[in-house]
């Protein structure tokens, strides 16, 4: 057993995945199972006057049709613990693709034929697609309470960190409004007064989709009064509790299984409409029901990363120290909140943490309803969006001041132990090491001292960099891990987290084996089944290695004590001086050094009726923040005739504490980097924003993800750091590398050409536009 990942070949899900026996929810086939197809709104905003499903019902093979008239009033949208916005089905449809009716039939084809037989009389309502346009008080109202989302309770007080939060209107070009989120520290206006230089910049980022390989869906089946759901979800326990609520059942009467997911990227959190619809159809028809989204539905009828309009204002002294940082985000929320508005909140808040040394800062986050698909959390969770704007502005600032962009970051970014206000602190920071080592690797001295200068050729090269922050895995405590000794002598590790594709079970088992002091070969894993696993919060927010891992380590230490105690009891001696070794308990002190196998201990525990079982919960001290940091350095070559950008080199350094399983960690980092490149240069959902709100690239043929031919070699590495809050010194890493990529590329383009690209995706047209400004 080592900590350097030499056991990484020992993947918990490896054999099952490579042989095809791993159970994905879509693999579930049950006798008599019905299939669902959906009638979706062709209008961006309309009220259903009447709906006639008689012909659909009459079609042979159709078992049920449901409209808003047939479903209980139950909110599936969730924000800050409060349900809002989205009911299971509604009379008003708010975007092209909104659910109008669902059909359950013997197969998808019959269901689709039935969908085509439904006739709907719509009263078409005025619609608005652009978030800035929707800010205007005279704009069509997407939701009754106005177009600026209100988040109950979270704009006052600050449960995560010490940044002061205020609840008051701010001035905008459309009037005075209370933002969805308003964070303020110090006196930003006074900070601008103190500045030697003030820059103001605007940016726009396009909405993007997580693009999981596997679209969403579930199979729901009732066994009497018990509901069983195989779901492609990141949060099986949340789905369980909400479905139990819907059917007014005790939670133990609902079982949710989510062993393997074909990706998630944060977009498979929380309840969505398909799960309650499938469960209701199954209840009404008395048959198992499978409801799976098509690729087009997955892209357009779930949620996207926010499209945002940013305004950034920064003040600095001549020496580069920031005196004021003002950020405004007008984020396109789409038609309603599915998951929550946290990405906007967390991004604003954490950038204030990242630049905590700036005494005066403000973040105004407006989550604005429009008649587009919903927006929510997607890998990076708000931070790639805001950091694109902030890191681009700071790059401009560094050149305006004639200060090395790296120096500017070193001077202004947060240090370990620094006060964040209200006595909150940051636990560990090694961003300085990241900056120094990454700059060294790419040879930062090669950058153009003056952007775009001294390169007469059409192909210009340049270097750029950006820094990033991410939740370091959080200090969640709402999770448990459990270890059992089976009568056969196997150690069974139960966690509730689904395998989203990151082999988190392998990492959990590695941590258990290390805490126990035995090889992983004695440990079996069981996960993501609400019937057999202890409670868990789900797999999200890069939190599994840290928060979940702390639970697993705690459970393992407890389990080890119990095992040693049982062996000591059998030998009639104290557990002191015993250790786990070679699949059993070993005496270290006696001359004859006795040994008992786990099988013997398992049988004994079983005989006694006193199972060896340990449950661990993570514990973290209050008022300490756990954050990961990263920097990315990029070298590009820009064809200034065409705006085409080629990435020549890409180096990312991570401050993620100790790597538990570096090969898996770096694999995920490479993938996050590629997704970051894709965000920066390829992806952007486009809609007809004038007429109908129809998607113009709503399929993988037109929504262009990069191919392997488009990806450069990704260099990434972990710097030496240790996180004291985690028993093994680790911090979260799954999303982090996504966050600095887009601004690093934009800054490299600037260094190469002297042209600032202010929008994503940075397509050739955008690069040319920037050059002509």
């Amino acid at each position: 057993m080592t900590t350097d990942g030499r056991q990484n070949g020992d993947l918990v899900g490896g054999l099952a995945k490579s042989t095809g026996s791993a159970l994905y929810a879509t693999d579930v086939l049950l006798p008599g199972m019905l299939h669902v197809r959906t009638l979706r709104s062709p209008h961006a905003h309309a009220r259903i006057r009447s709906i006639d499903v008689s012909a659909a019902r009459a079609l042979p093979g159709v078992h049920d049709v449901m409209t808003f008239e047939d479903v209980p009033h139950f909110m599936v949208g969730e924000n800050s613990g409060e349900r809002q916005d989205k009911a299971i089905l509604e009379r008003t449809v708010r975007y092209v693709g909104d659910e109008v009716a669902v059909v359950a039939a013997v197969n998808e084809d019959v269901a689709q034929d039935a969908v085509d037989l439904i006739s709907v009389d719509y009263e078409i309502l005025p619609a608005v697609f652009d978030a800035m346009a929707a800010m205007d008080p005279s704009a069509p109202r997407v939701r009754e309470d106005g177009n600026i989302a209100r988040v109950p309770g979270t704009n006052i007080g600050n449960p995560i960190m010490g940044t002061p939060v205020v609840n008051r209107p701010v001035n905008t070009e459309w009037g005075e409004f209370v933002p969805t989120y308003l964070f303020e520290k110090g006196n930003p206006e006074a900070g601008l007064e103190q500045a030697d230089i003030v820059l103001e910049r605007e940016f726009r980022v396009s909405p993007m989709h997580g693009s999981s390989l596997e679209p969403r869906g579930c199979v729901a089946a009732w066994e009497g009064e018990r509901l069983k759901v195989w779901d492609s979800t990141q949060k099986p326990f949340t789905v369980r509790s909400m479905l139990a609520d819907l059917f007014d059942l005790p939670e133990t009467q609902v079982q949710v299984i989510a062993e393997h997911l074909g990706g998630g990227f944060g977009t498979k959190e929380n309840l969505q409409r398909y799960q309650p619809l499938a469960a209701l159809l199954a209840r009404r028809t008395g048959r198992p029901v499978k409801y799976w989204l098509t690729r087009e539905e997955e892209l357009l009828c779930t949620w996207m990363r926010y499209g945002c309009d940013f305004r950034i204002k920064v003040g600095a002294r001549a020496d580069g120290s920031l005196t004021a940082l003002l950020m405004r985000n007008i984020a396109n929320q789409g038609n309603g909140i599915y998951q929550n508005t946290f990405p906007v909140r967390v991004s604003g808040h954490q950038v204030m943490v990242l630049y905590n040394r700036c005494a005066n800062s403000r973040f105004e986050g407006f989550c604005v309803y429009t008649n587009l698909p919903s927006s929510g959390g997607t890998r990076g969770f708000g931070r790639p969006e805001l950091l694109f704007a902030v890191e681009s502005t700071l790059d401009d600032l560094s050149y305006e001041l004639g200060i090395d962009p790296v120096e500017l970051r070193l001077k202004n970014t947060v240090r370990a132990g620094e006060n964040l206000g209200d006595g909150f602190t940051v636990s560990s920071v090694a961003l300085d090491k990241c900056l120094e080592e990454a700059a060294d690797r790419i040879d930062w001295t090669r950058r153009n001292a003056s952007p775009g200068q001294g390169q007469p050729a059409a192909l210009k090269r340049g270097l750029g960099m950006a820094v990033a922050i991410h939740s370091g895995g959080n200090t969640f405590t709402d999770t448990e891990s459990q270890l059992d000794l089976t009568p056969e002598g196997r150690i069974l590790l139960s966690t509730g987290i689904p395998d989203i594709g990151t082999e988190q079970e392998t990492t959990q088992r590695l941590m258990a084996s290390r805490a126990l002091g035995i090889s992983t070969t004695f440990i079996d894993s069981r996960w993501a089944d609400t019937d057999t696993c202890p409670h868990d919060f789900g797999i999200f927010s890069s939190s599994s290695t840290t928060s979940k891992g702390a639970a697993t380590i705690e459970a393992s230490r407890n389990f080890r004590r119990q095992l040693l105690g049982l062996a000591g009891d059998l030998w009639g001696r104290d557990a002191e001086g015993l250790k786990l070794r070679d699949g059993g308990v070993q005496e270290c002190d006696g001359a004859d050094a006795r040994w008992l196998s786990f099988a013997t201990l398992g049988r004994e525990a079983d005989r006694r009726g006193q199972p060896v079982r340990a449950i661990g919960r993570p514990q973290f001290p209050p008022r300490v923040g756990l954050f990961s940091f990263a920097t990315s350095f990029v070298e590009v070559e820009v064809d200034t005739r065409t705006g085409t950008v080629r990435i020549l080199r890409q180096v990312t350094a991570l401050d993620v504490g100790r790597g538990i399983n570096p090969p898996l960690l770096l694999g995920q980092t490479r993938a996050a980097t590629i997704q970051g490149i894709s965000y920066a240069m390829f992806e952007g959902l486009r809609f007809d924003g004038v007429e109908r709100g129809v998607p113009l690239n709503g399929g993988f043929l037109d929504y262009k993800l990069p191919t392997v031919l488009d990806c450069p070699d990704i260099e990434c590495f972990i710097v030496d750091s240790h996180e004291p809050l985690h028993p093994f010194g680790a911090k979260g890493a799954g999303e982090l590398a996504m966050n600095p990529i887009a601004p690093a590329i934009a800054n490299a383009i600037y260094n190469a050409t002297g042209s600032r690209v202010r929008a994503t995706p940075m397509l050739p047209s955008a690069v040319l536009d920037a050059a002509s400004l």
Partner: protein, 341 residues
């Protein structure tokens, strides 16, 4: 929004006809008129059928089961003959094509993805439909029963024309067509009344609406491509096909260029340059050709030739970048040919 993807339903409603011969196929097509469509590789057709773009046909006339429609033959006197059902992969890998018509092989290799090239055919590539998101999303555009072109005033940043077009601003997506036009290819088509020869210009005359049908090629409803013929390569000439796209595989051309140059030292004695992805048909740029054959091939002149190639371009609101892209591509292509890369 078209959010469905269920082949089976569609197949239930469509009769697949297996003809005895190509003559039988066109006779059948003639009998069913616009209710029938030919199926070659299915790579363009099936996607449109699944998404129910335009009205689905009642009959599919299945050509792959017919013998002897897939071949490539070459001789020095008559040049190259390509059977209509030859796959793109076969074309790209053909030794004769790679040796004598390398630009055609390059164009074939640049098409879509390996999977699509393995199944897609030469005839299908030439006869495919245009790719405008408004048309695909069933807007009532001027080609679909409406009065105006939403792409002309809306999002025209993608597969839209940079040369002036009336009614519809979509571009022809074929990679093979510009290369074939640059090589002076001709096609023989077969209809129920017999064969006729078409130039590439006649085969791809632009986009028009004829009755309920959107016409993107010069074939009559009952006609199929019978054979593609290329004259022997211009002696001592060099040729290449270059494609600019938003990603390096599985993508249509944003712009492309096919060029054939015959060089005598630094003089150009023959030039044929064709742009793809810029209009409803491949665009031969005569002005640039004439300029090249009357000027020395130095860098300044190549740049001027590239400028001339795009001289008459009139981009739409969001695709001016394609003019720059095309200019640079023409310049780079000509430079590469001039130095013999």
């Amino acid at each position: 929004m078209r959010l469905r993807c269920d082949e089976e339903t569609i197949m239930q409603n469509i009769v697949v006809i297996h003809p005895e011969s190509l003559e039988d196929a066109v006779q059948t097509a003639h009998e069913h008129g616009s209710e029938a469509k030919f199926y070659a590789g299915g790579q363009d057709l099936m996607y449109r059928l699944k998404r129910r773009i335009a009205s689905n046909p009642k009959y599919l006339i299945h050509l792959p089961s017919l013998p002897d429609l897939s071949y490539i033959s070459f001789d020095d006197v008559n040049g190259l003959r390509i059977g209509p059902l030859t796959t793109i992969t076969a074309l790209a890998q053909s030794e004769a094509v790679r040796t004598h018509y390398p630009a055609l092989a390059e164009a074939a290799e640049a098409i879509a993805s390996p999977q699509i090239r393995n199944v897609g055919t030469v005839a299908g590539n030439l006869c495919q439909q245009v790719w405008c998101p408004y048309l695909l999303e069933d807007y009532a555009c001027s080609m679909n029963g409406g009065k105006y072109c939403p792409a002309a005033v809306g999002d025209n940043s993608g597969y839209h024309a940079i040369f002036r077009q009336k009614k519809c601003v979509a571009v022809h997506p074929s990679d093979l067509a510009p290369a074939l036009l640059a090589m002076e290819a001709e096609v023989t088509v077969l209809g129920h009344t017999g064969k006729r020869m078409l130039s590439m210009e006649d085969l791809l005359p632009g986009i028009a609406r004829v009755g309920e049908e959107l016409k993107v090629n010069g074939l009559r409803t009952d006609e199929v491509l019978f054979e593609i013929q290329l004259p022997p390569p211009v002696p001592e000439s060099r040729q290449t096909y270059r494609k600019s796209r938003s990603r390096q595989s599985w993508d249509f051309a944003t712009v492309s260029v096919a060029a054939v140059l015959q060089l005598d030292g630094t003089d150009c004695t023959y030039a044929r340059i064709v742009l793809g992805g810029v209009a409803a048909q491949p665009v031969r740029v005569h002005a640039a050709e004439a300029f090249l054959t009357s000027h020395r091939l130095d860098v300044a002149n190549l740049i001027q030739a590239a400028d001339l190639a795009l001289e008459s371009a009139r981009p739409l609101a969001l695709n001016a970048y394609k003019v720059d892209l095309a200019k640079a591509l023409v310049q780079d292509t000509l430079e590469a040919l001039a130095v013999g890369e």
